[in-house]
């Protein structure tokens, strides 16, 4: 009789709970990054639209870089080189910073398009009623432009949520990292990746359904 030590154990109910917790972390990092990135992106989009020369000269190339360099490279570079300038951020914070900037770079273009979509005649009509620049922005440009770009924005948000999986390379235990840990232990990649995929689906699908509902309501 030879004793065998079993290094691997099967997938259990506890593991499902472990994945669910990780899914929450995915959701949390996504919500933070998308919210902050949308705010920052809208601000950048507005600056570019208003065409202040310094904004166009400095902001546009910077945003181009963040849009064009693969997210995984941005994450690794930032996580490893930020400490050099004295920024000691944990994987979560690093992930939020990079995902926020990445979201902002994507949203800036969308937001600028939204302001353009409202059109000068509509805005002149608003101003002719005595509205100030900011009243026009708040009550006319935001609702009209916002609706026009809402589908694109939802696309960006869902994309960023899926891209948040890349933060796993920094060691933050979100959904994908959690799956990798379980796969190492259980040796059941097919099952576990399917479950992780189902979690991603469960996070995205309600959002896109709700978005479609909203659009339908606005269309009438």
């Amino acid at each position: 009789m030879t004793e065998t030590i079993d290094f691997f154990s099967g997938f259990g109910a506890n593991d499902l709970w472990f994945l669910a917790e990780a899914a929450l972390r995915t959701l949390w990092i996504s919500i933070l990054s998308i919210a902050a990135g949308t705010f920052l992106g809208a601000l950048c989009g507005w600056l570019i639209y208003e065409g202040k020369i310094w904004a166009t000269l400095t902001l546009t190339p910077v945003l181009d870089i963040f849009r064009s360099v693969p997210l995984i490279i941005q994450l690794v570079l930032f996580y490893n080189f930020a400490p050099i300038v004295g920024l000691n951020l944990d994987p979560f914070a690093s992930g939020v910073v990079i995902l926020t900037i990445y979201t902002a770079a994507l949203v800036a273009n969308v937001a600028r398009g939204g302001i353009e979509a409202v059109g000068r005649p509509m805005r002149r009509a608003a101003r002719s009623l005595g509205m100030s620049y900011w009243q026009d922005m708040r009550y006319v440009v935001l609702p009209i432009g916002g609706r026009a770009i809402f589908p694109s924005w939802i696309g960006v948000a869902l994309g960023v949520m899926k891209d948040s999986a890349l933060v796993s390379v920094l060691g933050y235990v979100e959904l994908l990292k959690a799956s990798q840990i379980l796969i190492t232990r259980t040796q059941e990649p097919f099952l576990i990746l399917s479950i992780a995929g189902a979690f991603y689906f469960a996070l995205s699908f309600p959002i896109s359904r709700y978005a479609a509902k909203l659009e339908e309501r606005w269309a009438q």
Partner: protein
């Protein structure tokens, strides 16, 4: 009173208004006619400060529109404007379209703004469309909505920039009728228009613009009957 003195306006190198002198008294209805590109619409934009000017001045009730310290948002409340493209706010119902500016610009309460909006929509004959969105309204109805929206600010003057030019022919009448109604109520109006019938019947004076110059101004009988300028006669012969 609107006093325009030696007004000059350029778009880049192109001079679109070449020294306009014009005074519009309270209660007057002035129609401005002329070919496209003659500067007549630009004149309206200069009056309410939507376009900057390069020379001269526009003074509305003693306030210089283009002077540095002028509170232009306050001044514009006196100057209602209706555009060729009616520009109704698509995300708001007819009632909300009209109530928005009184609420946020004049600080009226929601119920006050609602009362104002209902009154003005009744005024232009849209009292059965209070809760309709602009997409459910015809062009003529949307233009009347735009008139109600401007009137809700209780302006002293109304500027009409080719209010009927973008409408299907069968919808022009209802908008002209609304404009006639305003004229009868004593509203001071400057109407840039291609509707010669309206200009002749409703106006106190008619101004003819030609290539950035106010070629001729006078009572409709003079302009349509015995115009002094060769250009005016030619223009009118062509549009008839």
């Amino acid at each position: 009173m609107i006093e325009i003195r030696s007004l000059e306006k350029y778009f880049g190198a192109l001079q679109v208004l070449k020294g306009i002198d014009l005074t519009v008294e309270k209660g007057e209805v002035l129609s401005v006619i002329g070919a496209s590109g003659s500067g007549k619409s630009t004149l309206l934009y200069c009056i309410n400060g939507l376009e900057p000017i390069q020379k001269g001045s526009v003074v509305v009730d003693g306030t210089n529109v283009h002077a540095k310290g002028t509170d232009i948002n306050k001044l514009r409340q006196k100057l209602g404007m209706v555009f060729q493209q009616w520009n109704s706010f698509p995300h708001l119902t007819a009632l909300e379209n009209v109530a928005l500016a009184p609420r946020i610009v004049k600080g009226k309460s929601r119920s006050e703004a609602r009362d104002i909006a209902e009154k003005q929509l009744l005024h232009v004959g849209l009292d059965d469309k209070l809760n309709a969105y602009p997409s459910a309204l015809s062009g003529g109805q949307q233009q009347r909505l735009a008139i109600a929206r401007a009137l809700a600010m209780e302006p002293t003057y109304m500027l009409f920039d080719e209010a009927t030019s973008a409408l299907d022919p069968e919808l022009v009448g209802e908008v002209l009728d609304t404009m006639r109604l305003l004229a009868e109520e004593g509203m001071t109006m400057i109407c840039v228009t291609h509707e010669m019938g309206f200009a002749r019947d409703v106006s106190d004076r008619v101004a003819y613009f030609h290539q950035g110059v106010m070629e001729e101004i006078g009572p409709p009988e003079q302009i349509f009957g015995e115009a002094k300028s060769e250009h005016t006669r030619k223009f009118l012969a062509n549009v008839r």
